[in-house]
Amino acid sequence: MGKTLFEKIWDAHVVVEKENNPSLIYIDRHLVHEVTSPQAFDGLRMNNRHVRRPDLTIATMDHNVPTNDRSLPILDQTSAIQIQTLEKNCKDFGIKLFDINSPNQGIVHVIGPQLGITLPGSTIVCGDSHTSTHGAFGALAFGIGTSDVEHVLASQTIWLEKPKSFQIRVEGKRKNPQAVTAKDIVLSIIKKIGTSGGTGTVVEYSGEGITDLSMEQRMTVCNMSIEAGARAGLISPDDKTFDYLRNRQYTPKNYESLVQNWKENLKTDPDAEFDKTFTLHIDGIAPQVSWGTNPGMTCDISEVVPTPEDYSKGDHNQKKAAEKALEYMDLKPGTPITEIKIDRVFIGSCTNARLEDLIEASKAIKGRKVAKNVRAMVVPGSQMVKKQAEEMGIDKIFTDANFEWREAGCSMCLGMNPDILSPGERCASTSNRNFEGRQGTGGRTHLVSPVMAATAALEGHFVDVRKLDLN
């Protein structure tokens, strides 16, 4: 029997294998940020250990950096200490750091691919669950806790039980690809399989609906694999993948010979079997808007907020969860999604803050202004994205419309920096999690695509973006 892409990458990275035990897996790339690493470096110091492969380790600061003027001091003392701690740790252990003033600074999952650090067929870890993003390049990439960060720093390996394989086929063609985006594909998947539908698995996305996507769109899909509970999401690399990574700042010198190897090896064999499969047909899917407090609580723009009964389909626990979510979100069942009024808009995050996302969102603006009573911000995923967008004049489109144009970071996706919602504020957000309080205590998050978020900023409520001219 043939092997899946996941099994091929797994097998190529096993250092130690024992039956019925976890395997010791080699890690090719370790990405480090300020929030989940200080305790790991402390552990190394306490045990007098060094970083085994600083040359495979890259650090940046993204989670709690302010997104306003970078020349100003960081006012929040605890954030400042965490940032200084990372600087010291990288210096002490010889790790390359893209600090707050580096032109390469940005969200770790945005800069990895942009710099050519992310490579097909490699294993990538980071103390962040959205590491699954890098799977768009055919890398086995997953989030780890701080103890494992320490383990990888010390040994460049990790003990892992082999996950199951889960094939998600995305079939068909979107009718209106500017209005129905990669975000809508992945939210549709999570809505169907649930937030634990992928638990214990590595998902491989395939089918025309995936190969049609650009690399940046594929990253949006793989990024949210974790929201379905999957450890990682994978897409077999193709010419789009190889073209994207060619001639980046850290693209390996022997890149073309690596590409030859990857072309031959990095695909699932036709006779390989997956532990689980699911197919989504995308011909008729609509733009998605989340209404609840987990990413599975999502519906079509043309629908109404569901009743807990309709949502839970007889499951008592899910019904209770939906009741709690509706109360938290202050929404009444039966309300058309297009009538939900918003206070804030956040275009950003490792899900949707790449150049294409910003371009797509800017197309909705057409000289109009952000609605009165709405505060809208655009936070590019990296300083490189910001610079490219500025060279294209995209920043001007946003600022002319009264969007705030900010410096790169995770920002209001998780609100560790000053960019947060006030209690009760309702936000159209291009991020990945609508958990209670995620964007600020008492804040209410609706997950949407960049074009939906930009349009909501102009109108003050959600709109069926399929009806707009987005050319």
Partner: protein, 194 residues
Amino acid sequence: MEKFKKIKTIVTPLDQVNVDTDQIIPKQFLKLVQKSGFGKYLFFNWRYDENENQKQDFILNNKKYKNSKILVTGDNFGCGSSREHAVWALQDYGFSVIIAPSFADIFYSNCFKNGILPINLDEKIIDKLKNESGELEIDLENQMIKTDSEQISFDIDTHKKKILLEGLDDISQTLQFEDKISEFEKQSIIPSVL
């Protein structure tokens, strides 16, 4: 890491599905650079109101459960962010065992690095345990939960069981394989970043 010993306390029933790590430890507490002291922030937004007064209807604020070391909860516990702070907070607060129908992968793995035992059980059994008023004894060695009236066995991976029972340090174990790691590195085709 301390060795996992037998535990006997009442259970704290947290009757909710999909409890995410943002709820277990909200982001404003992730800025600390040490591992200790997170217990006071556990479930912060559920435990305290905007003036930081205890919310009386939240289970952890019921004095009855003050000394409980066993949290019994719903499906997909620990989903979302990989933050190990969630496990540090549970442990620092005093929980040693978490029983749920299912756990999110990263959270589950983080538990074993910090001496917490996550137990998967069928939802029907969990519903019964949630209403158990007496003490539960958790015996990891024999993979057994004892209530006043019955014994319930549970499954756990042998390797993970050993880690908890012996309080093993992962890294020193791994470094025994240093030769194999070096050998692997010689044949790897993925080049250095720099």
